[in-house]
């Protein structure tokens, strides 16, 4: 057993004697960085004894500097070691190594020194380092030990034999010094930045087997300043080296240094990037489709215990795409199981919504809508390139891991195309959807002090700000207050920010001081005031995504609602799309408001205008969609029968017809306080 602290002291003394005894001139070819460590630390180009002594003194008799100078002098006098040893590595090679490090194809660097007692465990350590994308440098007796047990060495194998003695490990440090200067913007002589770079950016670990000389121990221990964990499977005591078993040493070292194995590329035969997100797949370009009313389809993201999930696993239950008839509609159930220490059940719907983006990232895959309304297509081009349903799973599994590295530790995907099995799975999904809806249902606006903003649409409507409350979801119908809160938790600097309600300015219209302050800032000063519950006075701005539009009809003293799906003319004399063009783009247009369809069911709907009694017209299809829920709400409020008084395109297409209809049914709006 070697005592590290004692050996270090003794080694330092030895080096202090050897440095003044240097002679001759010593330089390396193929580098612009002289003796790189000395150069990086002090900016001094060392090539003889005086230079070496100056740098040694300037760095407080640093053993690494001493070892660098001594090895350079020895190489100069005795020449380079023969193959397979590489000795000093040229700048050209370092540039490529640095490239791989920045690029992520190498995750980090490892240095192995000394003489392993057991060849197999040394080989296993090397194999593990190779598998974990580490580039490993070797110096000393470990090299013959590995060669004798048949391990292949060389750059291609990511195992680089530096030299016959452990002291050649100094080249490991000169490589890092050069990478810092080439890639890290470290100027020679800026010791502070170099050390910072080494500690924060250089992902390096050192593994030491027994058999090092005291001088070698001194330089290895000196590497602690650079922030590299020094690990040993045994043979050393004292000091701060970490002792770890051979089977655990790589994992431990990588963990100490925070080197994570990340997914970098998705192994699927199609491009995957947000650049493809907006591309739709038209009918004639489509190979197969799923859902969209043509077949059963749904998506569900569930939290599971880590022990129940194999990360990255993709299972397809049922037919693959190659056995499907071209042009056909097939069932598809997408079930994503996720696990993670910080994952919460509340996050499920927010993460689930990302399926939409991720599938659209695929160059030949397309996705719309959500839950059991999804509609997915694969393009002919993609299928011709070999894309299968399985690859959609791989894409999802990888993207979730890549985009939520802090949140998710394991993601597995199950894709069901079997027409029988999907029915069962869909029942489970429907149960979950109901549970989720129930969670938000009972919440009231006056029970919370914080609302959430949504500025996602500022991409194209630069001054638009949605304010989402428990009783008024985002006008796109896609984001509830709970979703906003969770989105904020997951990404605190994202598009959903908390909005403190602040003092009440107008209770009926839902105008609050804090909300106004937030909106003014978030709209870049364009919008000064908004009321949450009024169409007439300072309504919320409209981006362009609203599910429906509520607008005033002064002739009948009421408000009508038209949803996006309705293509006909409305009593306002305009179609949905004409209206949308008039009010969108982030503007505030009194008398018009963009809303989610479900907002009609909220107690806050038209509160500023006196309540739901103002509602005079809705397309029949929207009426049908809301009917059962709205009728119940109305009868609970003692307004049973009101539903029948709401006109639609069958009873009135013009304002004149509408007036006649409303008078005939004695619609309450006619007798209310004038809107204008």
């Amino acid at each position: 057993m070697t005592d590290v602290e004692f050996a270090r002291k003794h080694g330092d003394q030895e080096l202090q004697i050897k440095v003044p005894a240097l002679s001759g001139s010593f330089t390396y070819d193929d580098t612009a960085y002289h003796l790189p460590i000395s150069f990086a630390l002090t900016g001094i180009a060392v090539h003889d004894k005086p230079g070496a002594q100056e740098v040694y003194a300037k760095t407080g008799n640093n053993p690494i500097v001493a070892s660098e100078c001594l090895l350079a002098a020895q190489t100069a006098s005795a020449g380079k070691e023969p193959e397979p040893f590489t000795g000093f590595i040229s700048d050209t090679v370092i540039r490529k190594l640095g490239y791989s490090l920045v690029d992520g194809s190498i995750l980090g660097l490892a240095l192995i020194l000394g003489k392993p007692a057991n060849a197999d465990s040394a080989a296993a350590i090397c194999r593990e380092l190779q598998e974990k994308y580490m580039l490993t440098f070797l110096a000393g007796d470990v090299i013959p030990v590995l060669l004798n047990s048949g391990v292949k060495l060389g750059l291609d194998y990511r195992l680089i034999p530096l030299g016959s003695k452990s002291v050649y490990g100094i080249h490991f440090v000169d490589i890092i010094a050069r990478v810092a200067m080439m890639f890290g913007g470290v100027t020679p002589g800026d010791m502070h930045r170099l050390l910072h770079y080494a500690a924060e950016r250089a992902k390096a670990i050192v593994i030491v087997f027994p058999g090092l000389s005291d001088e070698e121990i001194a330089f290895v221990d000196g590497m602690r300043v650079l922030g590299f964990p020094i690990l040993t499977p045994g043979g050393y005591e004292g000091g701060t080296w970490i002792t770890a078993g051979a089977e655990d040493i790589v994992r431990r070292g990588m963990e100490e240094k925070g080197i994570r194995v990340n997914v970098t590329a998705i192994p699927i035969p199609m491009g995957c990037s947000p650049a493809f997100e907006g591309k739709s797949i038209r009918k004639e370009e489509m190979y197969v489709e799923f859902g969209g009313g043509r077949s059963t389809a749904f998506e569900l993201l569930r939290m599971r215990d880590a022990s129940e999930i194999t990360d990255g696993e993709v299972t397809v239950i049922g037919m693959e795409v190659d056995t499907m008839v071209q042009g056909s509609a097939n069932p598809l159930g997408i079930i994503i199981d996720v696990a993670g220490k910080t994952m919460k059940k509340d996050y499920e719907p927010v993460l689930e919504r990302r399926i939409h983006n991720f599938v659209n990232y695929g160059e030949g895959s397309w996705h719309v809508a959500q839950r059991d309304l999804i509609w997915v297509r694969l393009s002919k081009e993609a299928v011709a390139k070999g894309v299968k349903i399985e690859h959609i799973g791989k894409l999802l599994a990888s993207k979730f891991r890549m985009d939520f590295p802090q949140l998710l530790e394991a993601v597995s995907v199950t894709l069901i195309t079997d027409p029988q099995k999907i029915l069962e799975a869909k029942k489970e999904a429907e149960r979950v959807y109901e549970e989720r809806d129930a969670r938000i249902k009972g919440m009231k606006d006056n029970e919370v002090n914080t609302y959430y903003s949504c500025t996602l649409c500022q991409t194209f409507a630069p001054n638009h700000v949605c304010v989402i409350t428990p009783e008024r979801m985002g006008l796109c119908g896609a984001l509830s207050w709970l979703d906003g809160r969770i989105a904020f938790e997951i990404s605190p600097s994202g598009a959903n920010q908390p909005v403190e309600k602040g003092a009440v300015l107008n209770l009926q219209n839902g105008e609050y001081e804090g909300v106004n302050r937030f909106v003014k800032k978030a709209s870049h000063g364009e919008i000064e005031r908004i009321s949450l519950y009024s169409v007439m006075e300072y309504p919320m701005t409209c981006c362009g995504c609203f599910e429906a539009i509520a607008l005033m009809l002064p002739e009948v003293n009421g408000i009508m609602v038209v949803n996006r799906e309705f293509t006909g003319i409305t009593p306002s004399g305009m179609t949905f799309s004409t209206l949308a063009g008039t009010i969108g783009g982030g503007a505030q247009t009194p008398g018009f408001a963009g809303i989610a369809k479900n907002f009609v069911l909220s107690d806050r709907f038209l509160q500023g205008e006196g309540g739901i009694e103002r509602l005079v017209w809705m397309p029949s299809q929207l009426k049908e969609e809301l009917k059962s829920r709205l009728e119940k709400i109305l009868s609970d409020k003692g307004k049973a029968g009101f539903f029948e008084k709401i006109a639609d395109e069958n009873t009135a297409t013009t304002i004149e017809d509408l007036t006649v209809f409303l008078e005939r049914v004695e619609h309450p709006a006619l007798a209310m306080k004038p809107l204008m």
């Binding site: 890639f183 970098t264 035969p269 491009g271 390139k385």
Partner: protein
């Protein structure tokens, strides 16, 4: 009616150097320094803004190119070097942008050819070169390494870095001193985030050109325009993470139905019109480089820029 054109802006768009002449260790006949603006372009009585540069796009596998251009350019498209020469002497582009479409072929593995192509194009044209590398994450690492190496010293502009896919290209920029195109999907926030990611990996601001992604006219260009405007406003208001020059490529315009299915007799005119109007609008929004694929668009754009009365051209590095 006159408008007050002093907006009280404090920011300046950073400058990026494209191409290196012999004096700077390269072999280009000229180099450009783009950026440096302090207000919007083409404003009357405002500080002069440099005329946008026009890049002509070529590729090394014309199977992936619009048939309109293949027909118009004829045999040229089968020789990357001849095409690059034509771009320089006949079409009079300011820059050549080489798309390595050969890497789009499935299971592409001939990485050595990338180096040869880049070297050949560098000797065929003396204009500063933009290179669009691999389209396949799997081969990014090797392709960008080769591009970087082959163009060492030439101050290339390499494309395209995206949020999930920027490391290889950043590595090539860092290792061989090139600049890079940072593309985000029409979103100012993502544009900024990508620039921050690039900065964290070590790429200096003066090596980044923003590509806000150019949608086709009639197919979402207005979103691009708005994103560009906001990027530029933020930069001028002092956000240094967005204060980089912008590049726009009208490539999408050649694939939209109106152009693709135009009457064969007038298809070139339609393609040129679409590229032209996209290019002019992008320039008005502040783009410093406009990329086109139809040779005839170049002259028209240049004429239009001249007509829009800017008082100086892009500063040539002496």
């Amino acid at each position: 009616m006159t408008h007050d054109l002093s907006f009280g802006w404090t920011g300046t768009i950073g400058e990026v150097t494209l191409g290196a002449t012999r004096d700077d260790g390269g072999t280009r006949s000229t180099s450009y320094r783009i950026g440096g603006g302090t207000t919007l372009p083409f404003l009357k009585n405002a500080p002069a803004s440099p005329t946008p540069l026009i890049a002509f796009e070529i590729c090394d596998n014309p199977d992936f190119w619009s048939p309109i251009i293949r027909n118009y350019c004829g045999d040229l498209v089968n020789s990357t070097t001849d095409w690059a020469k034509a771009a320089t002497s006949d079409y009079q582009a300011d820059l050549v942008k080489l798309h390595l479409t050969s890497t789009k072929v499935r299971n592409f593995s001939d990485i050595a050819s990338v180096q040869k192509t880049v070297e050949a194009v560098l000797s065929a044209t003396s204009l500063p070169l933009i290179i669009e590398g691999s389209n396949e994450p799997k081969i990014d690492s090797e392709v960008f390494l080769k591009c970087g190496e082959a163009g060492e010293g030439e101050r290339l502009l390499l494309g395209t870095a995206e949020a999930g896919r920027y490391r290889s290209i950043a590595a090539a920029a860092l290792a061989y001193n090139h600049s890079i195109i940072a593309q985000s999907p029409i979103d100012i926030n993502l544009a900024k985030q990508l620039n921050i990611l690039l900065r964290e990996i070590g790429v200096q601001r003066d090596h980044i050109v923003i590509d806000p992604y150019t949608g086709s006219l009639g197919y979402g260009f207005e979103y691009s325009y708005s994103a560009m405007e906001r990027i530029r406003f933020s930069a001028l208001k002092g956000d240094t993470d967005l204060a980089m020059p912008m590049i726009c490529s009208a490539a999408d315009t050649l694939t939209i139905k109106e152009v693709r299915e135009a009457d064969p007799a007038s298809i070139d005119d339609v393609a040129v019109a679409w590229e032209f109007y996209t290019g002019v609008a992008a320039a008005v929004a502040g783009a410093e480089i406009i990329c086109v694929r139809h040779p005839k668009t170049i002259g028209l754009l240049r004429e239009a820029f001249a007509g829009m009365k800017t008082s100086s051209t892009a500063a040539e590095v002496p």
